[in-house]
């Protein structure tokens, strides 16, 4: 049996908005094992953002249990959660969130800056290695505003990999990209999956589920389906079939 990376049990999250209580999550339970590529899908308002925030240790559940890599997250204070985010989680955002006017290398080094155990030398080495992995070995010293959207997202992926996280959390990671670039990024995710990385990819685009190993559907704070995908399509094939756009 593979290692349990994420285990949530009857997770509930309620928000107070004025007089009303909004129930964003109404009891969600699932377990994600090491090496899975899970898409979490749902329309806006389905609770997927809340779930992502909770899984990312940015938010704490109102009730229910959450174990990340066997560690109970519920009851952790802000600083403990910051630490666990730094050591266990790699975030990828829709709008990349790179630091402006900062080189790719420095952007990737960023998470390691908040880990005093990593020396400056090791920081640079690990960042460079991750950038090479995502295919940006030629652009280490390019600044974030000198790169295309696809390149920026690759930097963001390298940043998510640099701390050797147990889980990569991607939030609409292809949402801002054109089709061809989206598939090149998806190809990268699939490669990471084949290398044994555990990935959660939150999206509202049902097509992406075809390329993941498992798909969890959310609606109104409940899981409506949780299916394994036995016929994972290759993003690379699609990427190759798409014409290169020329002027």
């Amino acid at each position: 049996m593979a290692k349990e990376i994420i285990k949530v049990e009857n997770l509930k999250r309620h928000f107070k908005v004025g007089e009303e209580t909004v129930k964003a999550l109404r009891g969600v339970s699932f377990t994600i094992y090491e090496g899975e590529f899970v898409t979490i899908m749902g329309t806006s308002g389905s609770g997927k953002s809340t779930l992502l925030n909770t899984l990312g240790c940015l938010d704490t559940p109102t009730s229910g249990e959450y174990f990340l890599d066997g560690i109970p997250v519920k009851g952790m204070n802000k600083n403990e959660r910051a630490r666990i985010r730094n050591r266990k989680i790699g975030f990828i955002f829709q709008n990349y969130n790179l630091l402006p006017k900062t080189t790719a290398l420095e952007n990737v080094e960023l998470p390691l800056l908040y880990n005093p155990a990593v020396s400056a030398k090791e920081r640079a080495e690990r960042a460079e290695k991750c950038l090479r992995e995502v295919g940006l070995s030629e652009r280490l010293y390019h600044k974030s505003n000198q790169m295309s959207g696809g390149q920026q997202q690759r930097v963001a992926i390298a940043r998510a990999l640099v701390n050797n996280p147990v889980i990569i959390l991607a939030d609409e990671a292809t949402g801002n990209l054109d089709t061809r670039t989206s598939f090149s990024i998806l190809t990268l995710f699939q490669r990471l999956y084949r290398e044994g990385k555990t990935i959660i990819f939150v999206t509202h685009n049902p097509e992406i589920a075809l390329y993941s190993s498992r798909n969890i559907m959310l609606r109104d704070g409940h899981i409506v389906s949780d299916q394994y995908n036995n016929d994972i399509k290759s993003a690379e094939e699609v990427f190759r079939s798409l014409p290169v756009e020329t002027e």
């Binding site: 910051a82 985010r85 730094n86 005093p116």
Partner: protein, 406 residues
Amino acid sequence: MNISNSSKIAIKALGNNKMRCFLTMLGVIIGVGAVIAMLAIGQGSKNSIKAQISEMGSNMIMIMPGAERRGGVRQSSEDMQTLKPADYDAIVSQATMIDRITPMVSSSGQWVNGNNNYPSQAQGVNTQFLDIRQRKVADGEMFTEADVKTAAKVCVLGKTLVNNLFPDGTDPIGKIVRFGSIPLTVIGVLDEKGYNTMGQDQDDMALVPYTTVMKRMLAIDYIQGLQASAIDENQTDATIAEITNILRESHKLRPEQEDNFTIRSMQELAEMISSTSSMMTVLLAAVAGISLLVGGIGIMNIMIVSVTERTREIGLRMSIGATGRDIMTQFLIEAVIISVTGGILGILLGGVATWMIKIIANWPVQIDPFSVILSFVVCTVIGIVFGFYPAAKASNLDPIEAIRYE
């Protein structure tokens, strides 16, 4: 995260906004520069006053007729005639703490030499005057005790008078000039001293035996004052007490009667002048300090803007593992870097400004090392104090909201 990493991040962030960073610094630079320059001017003028006073003789004591009166009551002319030559004799024979003493009587009038004339005074003194005022006779010689006794018609002229009475440069020694209608033989010329701190021409002076002024010019039996020097300048208070006793006895004053004379020491005068100058320094420094405060508020303002503008960055840093403390440290360091760098540049600016004041306006200035250290410390404190609120604001952001901030 350690301080060195925080500093790197902070320096990087400031480097991304050089112009803004510099403009913010400018407030501190000008503030600190102004404080340094103002304190340098204050310190310089204080020093120069001190030097002038010790040059004039910090052990000098002045005795004037009439009670010390402040305010509106006008003193009668009789009150101004309380000091007699007998008082001078009493002090000379009884005082133990006095080194030198001279009566002072002066008469205003016109000095005349042929076609040339010049309005000035005839300063009636005895031979000890030169020692008390630390003056010398440059040419010729001073009159003697015998000249004083006989009320001789001789005079020692200051340089300004010589220049005006003998514009063609002839040697004045031995020549006869007139003061009013009285002919006086010039027997000496005083050394040149220039202007003092109060702007008085110290060379516009003619010395005549005091007896000559009293008998031949004014026809009075009283003296207008006495100037003395204490043996020990640290004992001026005791010396004043001694003179007071001698004079009260000589004037036969009963214990309940007020003194009908006034005694001032140069030290008192020095304190009076330097306290005025200290007050000016404090005022100037306060104004400069206010501009430093404004600079600090500028830092706070720009840091608040910066926090708002970089909300997404803060959200990102938090989501990849920065604690509130890390964020707080980063922004505090940014504020301190701005204020301290501004402080250092301000000290340099203050130094340059001080130097220029010295060169252009020729004012006495002196930069006190204490003011440099003080400005530096104040800058650091300003950075921390005014950086604290924006930094706390940044560290309290919710990462979920911050990262989606548009």
